[in-house]
């Protein structure tokens, strides 16, 4: 999957999203952040996903 950003259009896999039509600012920001990742999303599926994955939020013991 690739994500590229140009003229408000972000390509996510086979889908082209016009981000200005996304009403939720939070969702828009999240998708734009995905699109601005280094290397686009040719790297997203594996590398970025692995980098973003996190351990359990409840690892905090004390």
């Amino acid at each position: 999957m690739t994500v590229e950003s140009e003229n408000n259009i972000i390509t996510v896999g086979e889908k082209k999203l016009d981000i200005v039509r996304i009403a939720s600012p939070a969702l828009r920001q999240t998708i734009v952040a995905m699109g601005s990742y280094e290397g686009g999303i040719s790297n997203w599926q594996d590398k970025t996903w692995k980098q973003k994955r996190k351990p359990c939020p409840l690892l905090c013991p004390g």
């Binding site: 999957m1 994500v3 259009i9 996510v12 896999g13 889908k15 082209k16 999203l17 016009d18 981000i19 039509r21 996304i22 009403a23 939720s24 600012p25 939070a26 969702l27 920001q29 999240t30 998708i31 952040a33 995905m34 999303i41 997203w44 599926q45 996903w49 692995k50 980098q51 973003k52 994955r53 996190k54 351990p55 359990c56 939020p57 409840l58 690892l59 905090c60 013991p61 004390g62």
Partner: protein
């Protein structure tokens, strides 16, 4: 691979929900064992793939700054050709400017445990005297940021958090402090039910999703968006299905567990790094049994439309609450309620923004 290291077994707080309970031995992982962990793990792991070390506890800062300086020296010396990432989860009590500069200079990802506004936090996270820790931790968080350290927060949801979503959201937003949250998993009186957790999560999601100026990221929500767009599970261990494949935890005596949540269960020990090499540990029958959880679809999940996002949840939660890990996790129904609610709303907006196509029915849940 991600290695969770129980740096020290003790803590300077006595949080009321702590799963370590009152029995806290004062053990610190010896530098010699850390060297052995680094050597075994880095040799075992793919050299091209970063290995993450999560310095955990107890309270890891009790190990002392000189301990971490030594670790960084070792990593930059004998292991300099490997890709290493360091993360650390602290309660923030000792996080002064010197620590902040050290973490900044050595590229540590630092998470601080902060349960939201003062009254909620101080109801949970107290010193052994019973005094709340909020003021000192907030001061240290602000000071760390003045020193240039970018922090994340970890917020534990208890009975006291219920109905306080707006306060919690406003608190982190005012601080511009991105946060992650999860339900307390003890059975203490402050524990919440799956329905309560679902309700809390949905209301918090609504606050974030409809905020005209969302200046704070909330990890489970942004992670769900990335999961939907990348057709991967939500990138958090409890949703991976095969967390056992990529995580191990090492405690100060060298015992290796699949995760530090299992450290209270000697029957889940995979081996000991003083005695065994990592290959022997990774081939342990206990690990093989846990790995099989990801391959055996539970009856409860067989027709579930969100299975591909959560993969049956956390095996430890399943063990604690259901008596065995070949079942979905305790908060299965919470995740199901939340995912169904949030996915529908996210997908509706993605469909509306898709160029060249009119609104389509939600396809995310169908595949």
């Amino acid at each position: 691979m991600t290695v969770i290291i129980e740096t020290v077994s003790h803590c300077n707080l006595s949080c009321r929900y702590c799963y370590l309970g009152q029995e806290k031995h004062t053990m610190k992982i010896p530098i010699g064992l850390v060297e052995r962990v680094l050597s075994e793990v880095l040799r075992y792991n793919d050299k091209e793939c970063p290995t993450e070390f999560i310095w955990h506890g107890g309270e890891p800062l009790l190990a002392g700054l000189d301990f971490f300086q030594e670790i960084c020296k070792i990593q930059a010396g004998a292991f300099r050709e490997y890709k290493i990432e360091n993360s650390l989860q602290t309660n923030g009590v000792l996080l002064d400017g010197e620590w902040a500069r050290f973490f900044l200079n050595n590229n540590f990802h630092v998470g601080v445990s902060l349960d939201g506004p003062r009254d909620i936090h101080n109801g949970n996270r107290v010193f052994p005297t019973g005094r709340g820790s909020f003021d000192i931790i907030l001061d240290n968080v602000l000071s760390a940021r003045r020193n240039g350290l970018n922090l994340g927060a970890l917020c534990v949801i208890t009975k006291a958090s219920l109905g306080r979503q707006a306060d919690i959201y406003a608190f982190f937003k005012d601080l511009s402090l991105g946060f992650d949250f999860g339900a307390v998993t003890t059975t203490a009186p402050m524990a919440i039910t799956p329905d309560e957790f679902a309700e809390f999560t949905i209301r918090l999601f609504d606050l974030w999703f409809t905020d005209p100026n969302p200046t704070v990221t909330i990890d489970p929500f942004t992670m769900l968006v990335t999961a939907m767009l990348s057709s991967r599970p939500v990138p958090q261990c409890i949703f991976e299905g095969n967390c056992v494949e990529s995580y191990i935890a090492v405690v100060p005596d060298g015992t290796v567990f699949p995760c530090d949540r299992f450290a209270a269960y000697p029957e889940f020990a995979l081996g000991n790094l003083w005695r065994d090499d990592l290959e022997t540990i990774m081939n342990s029958p206990v690990r093989a049994r846990l790995l099989s959880r990801a391959r055996i679809p539970f009856f409860e999940c067989s027709t579930c439309t969100i299975r591909k996002f959560c993969n049956g949840g956390c095996p430890h939660e399943a063990l604690v609450y259901n008596g065995g890990f070949f079942t979905p996790g305790y908060f299965c129904s919470s995740y199901r309620q939340f995912f169904l609610y949030a996915i529908e709303r996210i997908q509706r907006q993605i469909d509306a923004a898709t160029v060249g196509s009119s609104l389509r029915a939600c396809q995310v849940l169908e595949t």
